[in-house]
Structure formats: structure tokens, C-alpha cells
């Protein structure tokens, strides 16, 4: 098994590079409001 060793997480810019919509280091998605019909 591989070592239990902390390594840097993925670069946020790489993680967001293909985002359909982003704001800073976050993916932008529609709001999920309490009580909204989940469909």
C-alpha cells in the first residue's frame, strides 16, 4: 500500500480550468434553497 503521507492538494486553478462557471476559487452553481422541490 502507498505511504500515508500528506501531499499538496490539486492546484485550484487546475481543478477549475474546465469549470462552466467559476468565481474566484469556487464553482458557481444555482442556489439550493431550503424547501426547494428536489424534483
Amino acid at each position: 500500500m502507498r505511504e500515508d503521507r500528506a501531499v499538496p492538494a490539486i492546484d485550484p486553478e487546475l481543478a477549475l480550468a474546465n469549470a462552466p462557471e467559476r468565481q474566484g476559487f469556487a464553482f458557481v452553481v444555482p442556489k439550493v434553497l431550503e424547501g426547494e422541490d428536489p424534483g
Binding site: R2, F27, P30
Partner: protein, 488 residues
């Protein structure tokens, strides 16, 4: 049918002797792709400038005496479901439009490290779900032997590219036969390794317990060289096996005296099979007998459950793997949605094709409460029985020989509206994926001008035997040397 196709071995010789440079080779490949693309549609993307730069670097290494491997400077192609840094990866789907990968699949990286020149990405059935390369958002690929027929699938683009002489080798992926069946339809060699032999890191997942990256080329020797380059443990793939990689090419002696070939009686039933295909396979087995191999009938008694078992397991795993395509982090996001759930629904409805949707819905169904035991659990139990069939058969033989497909390449559009007929195309290939064993298809004849594939199945991690038997066959026959008339 004339000429001999350029193999990895012959191109390496040309480079070694200085008869050609890697740059000349790449330009030739790109020219051939441009000439044939309209009629063939094997490629969905080309790395023209990247390939030229890589070729120049390979030529410079050769000049300095720093050749990295037998693949150094050789142009190859990659199926469009293996990611490569900075390159579009679409998997034949609208839902991945615009996706540029931030990393490179291990198998692809190993080819690059070996010095191979990756000239482009080949067409495929959407998310590898199909047997004809008709289920691609980019349109169908055509069979170089008959442009009105399919090349098989889902690695049809890779198979067509090799068969048409556009590249001497390519990577494909095989979940239920998607390397072997198109190899059989296109008259080339296609190898699915043992599950775990090649890292799946960077292979876009379809069914994770079945998927395996493999190779397509003209000869068993070229398959051996490609497999050597990409195989081996990868700590980033937890299913990657730790076993060392044999020198597959060195074992190709041409000698099969004493080898025992098993012929499963369940695979040689006349019903549902083109009798000419069976005759071609029987004739191929006779060639191996004359070469010194012994033939024995074996039984794989649970074969009749294989297709159903495969599709239950594969669809269940696909429904889980494709849940990630939701328009949030990458790929297509629909417009005009009303809320998060609607965004998911619209993005996936617009982004997936009908065959993918069918498999997701069926896979979700078989995993659902009330049906899980009857379908998915039962399929996993039958899977164990299928694996035990092979273990038992291999007690009495070294390899198993079967047809690759029940028919030769079918016409474009012939089965697209009949999914069950399409699924039955895989009747001979799915068991190897369920059991995790290696399988190799090589051309063994022609029926009405179309190639016939001979499939060899082996014990887990025994690709060497399959390659040795295939090489012995190819030393005694010339089916693998023929090129499609339109490609010559």
C-alpha cells in the same frame, strides 16, 4: 489486396538505418490522415504541431545516440477516452465538449516517455458504449475494407487508423470486447491485457471492474512491444497489479510444439454464427496443429449467461461512473435551467446520446432497492461461475481459441436501432472481461472480402502465451500482411 502494412518493427528499422527520419514519418502519417479522413473518419483530433515538435526531438535524440526505446520516433494514435495534458478529451460525447485535460493517463505518459509520437486521438462509441463506433457525436468511423460497414467498436477509430495504414499502432480500451472485436472486423491484431496489467489512471471510466487499456497493431510482435511500454504497476491505480512486466517480444520464438489449445464447445455452435467464420477459425486452428500444437475440446458451461451477466454488471457500473457528468465542474452545462436539479436534468439530457442514456437508466434500475439482489447480486454470482469455468478449462490447456465475433463487419446502420442485436455481437468477447483474463484477436482469414478474427484467451497474466501462439500463426500465414484495397 496487396502490399504489406508498415509495422512498428519495419519503421524502427527505417529510423535506425536513416532511411527515414521521425519527422518524415510523422508528415507521411498526417498526409495519409488528410487523404483518407473524409471517407474513414478515424480521427477526432490531430496534434499536428505537437507531433512535429516531438518528431524533431526524437530525431535529435537519435542523432545524439540517445534512443529511448524501440518506440522512439514512431507515430501512434490514442483512443479519445485516455486523457492527455492540454488536449481535448471528448469520449465521443457532447457532454465533454470543451474538456481539456489537466493531466495525462499513465499509459499515454509511458508511451511518451518511450519516445513515441502521439499524432492524434481516435473516434469511439460514446463513453466506450457500443460495438460499431456509430454512437459517436462526431459521426461514424468506417471500415477500411468496406466503407459501407462499421469498423466495430468501441475502439473503431483506433482499429480503422491502424488497418488503413495511418499509424502502425494505437491504444484502445476494452470493457466487453472493444479492442478485440474492432481488431477482428478490421483485420489487425488487438490485445486486451489481464485486468490490472495496465494502469487505468487517466482512462475515462465506463465499468471500472471490466475496463482495460490495450493495444492494436498489425502483428503479435508489435502488440508485444506496445504492451511492454505501457504495462506495469501504477500506485495511482489501486487495481494495478504489482507483477513485473515480462519482455513479451523476446518470447516470440515461433515454436508452439506441445502447446495445448482448448476449443470450447459452447463457442462452436452453428446457431447464430456465420458458418464461414467458423470455417475460417477451424482452418486457423489446423495451421497451429500443423505447427505442433495439440487441440482439445473444453467446456465453458456458463457461456450462455455471459452476455446478460456482462450487461447487468457493465450498466450498473456505468450508471455510477457517469454520475459525475452533471455540468458543475467540467463539460457541458445546459442553458435556461431553473434550479440545480433542473440544471442536472437538462445538462445530462442534452449531453448524453441515446445508448448512454439507455445504459444509465438500466444500470440504475438493476442497482435499485428491490431489484439489486435479483439482478446485480445475481450477476456477480454468475460472474464467479464464469471465472471458474476458465480456471477449470485452463487445467487442461494453455490457451483457448474461439472466433472473435459471430460475423464479419456489419453494415452501417444495420443494428443501430436494435440494441439487443448489437449487444449479441459481443457474445465471444465479454467473458474475458468478466473473468479478468487476457484476450488477443488476430486476423485468420477473409469471408466475402471481409476479415475474420481468431480470438485467443489465456490465463491471467499469461499474455506471453497468447502472443507466442499468435506470432507462430503469423509466421505461417499472410492474413496480417494484407491491406485494404482503398488504403493501398
Amino acid at each position: 489486396m496487396t502490399d504489406h502494412p508498415a509495422t512498428l518493427e519495419s519503421l524502427r528499422d527505417a529510423l535506425d538505418t536513416g532511411a527515414m527520419s521521425s519527422r518524415e514519418l510523422v508528415e507521411q502519417c498526417l498526409d495519409r490522415v488528410a487523404e483518407t479522413e473524409a471517407g474513414l473518419h478515424a480521427f477526432v483530433g490531430l496534434r499536428r504541431e505537437g507531433a512535429r515538435a516531438d518528431a524533431d526531438a526524437a530525431d535529435a535524440r537519435r542523432t545524439r545516440g540517445e534512443v529511448r526505446s524501440p518506440l522512439d520516433g514512431i507515430p501512434l494514435a490514442v483512443k479519445d477516452n485516455m486523457v492527455q495534458t492540454g488536449e481535448l478529451t471528448r469520449c465521443g460525447s457532447r457532454i465533454l465538449e470543451g474538456f481539456v485535460s489537466p493531466y495525462t493517463a499513465t499509459a499515454v505518459a509511458r508511451l511518451q516517455a518511450a519516445g513515441a509520437i502521439l499524432i492524434g486521438r481516435t473516434n469511439m462509441d460514446e463513453f466506450a458504449m457500443g460495438s460499431s463506433t456509430e454512437h459517436s457525436v462526431f459521426g461514424a468511423t468506417r471500415n477500411p475494407w468496406d466503407r459501407g460497414r462499421t469498423p466495430g467498436g468501441s475502439s473503431g477509430g483506433s482499429a480503422a487508423a491502424v488497418a488503413a495504414g495511418l499509424v502502425p499502432g494505437a491504444l484502445g480500451s476494452d470493457t466487453g470486447g472493444s479492442i478485440r472485436q474492432p481488431a477482428g472486423f478490421c483485420g489487425i491484431a488487438g490485445l486486451k491485457p489481464t485486468y490490472g496489467r495496465v494502469s487505468r489512471w487517466g482512462l475515462v471510466a465506463f465499468a471500472s471492474s471490466l475496463d482495460q487499456i490495450g493495444v492494436l497493431a498489425h502483428t503479435a510482435g508489435d502488440c508485444a512491444r506496445l504492451l511492454e511500454a505501457i504495462a506495469g504497476h501504477d500506485p495511482r491505480d489501486s487495481t494495478s497489479l504489482p507483477e513485473p512486466v515480462p519482455r513479451f517480444a523476446e518470447a516470440l520464438s515461433g515454436d508452439v510444439s506441445g502447446f495445448v489449445l482448448g476449443l470450447p464447445r459452447e463457442y462452436f455452435v452453428e446457431e447464430g454464427v456465420d458458418p464461414e467464420v467458423l470455417n475460417s477459425v477451424r482452418a486457423a486452428v489446423s495451421v497451429l496443429e500443423r505447427a505442433g500444437a495439440k487441440v482439445r475440446e473444453v467446456s465453458l458451461p456458463h457461456t450462455k449467461y455471459a452476455v446478460a451477466t456482462y450487461y447487468l454488471v457493465a450498466m450498473a457500473e456505468a450508471s455510477s461512473n457517469l454520475a459525475r457528468y452533471d455540468g458543475v465542474r467540467y463539460g457541458r452545462r445546459a442553458e435556461g435551467y431553473d434550479g440545480l436539479t433542473d440544471m442536472y436534468r437538462r445538462s445530462r439530457s442534452e449531453g448524453f446520446g441515446p445508448e448512454v442514456k439507455r445504459r444509465i437508466v438500466l444500470g440504475t434500475y438493476v442497482l435499485s432497492a428491490g431489484y439489486f439482489d435479483a439482478y446485480y447480486r445475481k450477476a456477480q454470482q454468475v460472474r464467479t461461475l464464469l471465472r471458474r469455468d476458465f480456471e477449470e478449462a485452463f487445467r487442461g490447456c494453455d490457451a483457448i481459441a474461439t472466433p472473435t465475433s459471430p460475423e464479419t463487419a456489419f453494415r452501417l446502420g444495420e443494428k443501430i436501432d436494435d440494441p439487443l442485436r448489437m449487444y449479441l455481437s459481443d457474445v465471444y468477447t465479454v467473458s474475458a472481461n468478466l473473468a479478468g483474463i487476457p484476450g488477443l484477436s488476430i486476423p485468420c482469414g477473409f469471408v466475402r472480402g471481409l476479415p475474420v478474427g481468431l480470438q485467443l484467451l489465456g490465463r491471467a497474466l499469461d499474455e506471453s502465451t497468447l502472443l507466442r501462439v499468435a506470432d507462430a500463426f503469423q509466421r505461417r500465414t499472410d492474413h496480417h500482411t494484407r491491406v485494404p484495397p482503398q488504403a493501398s
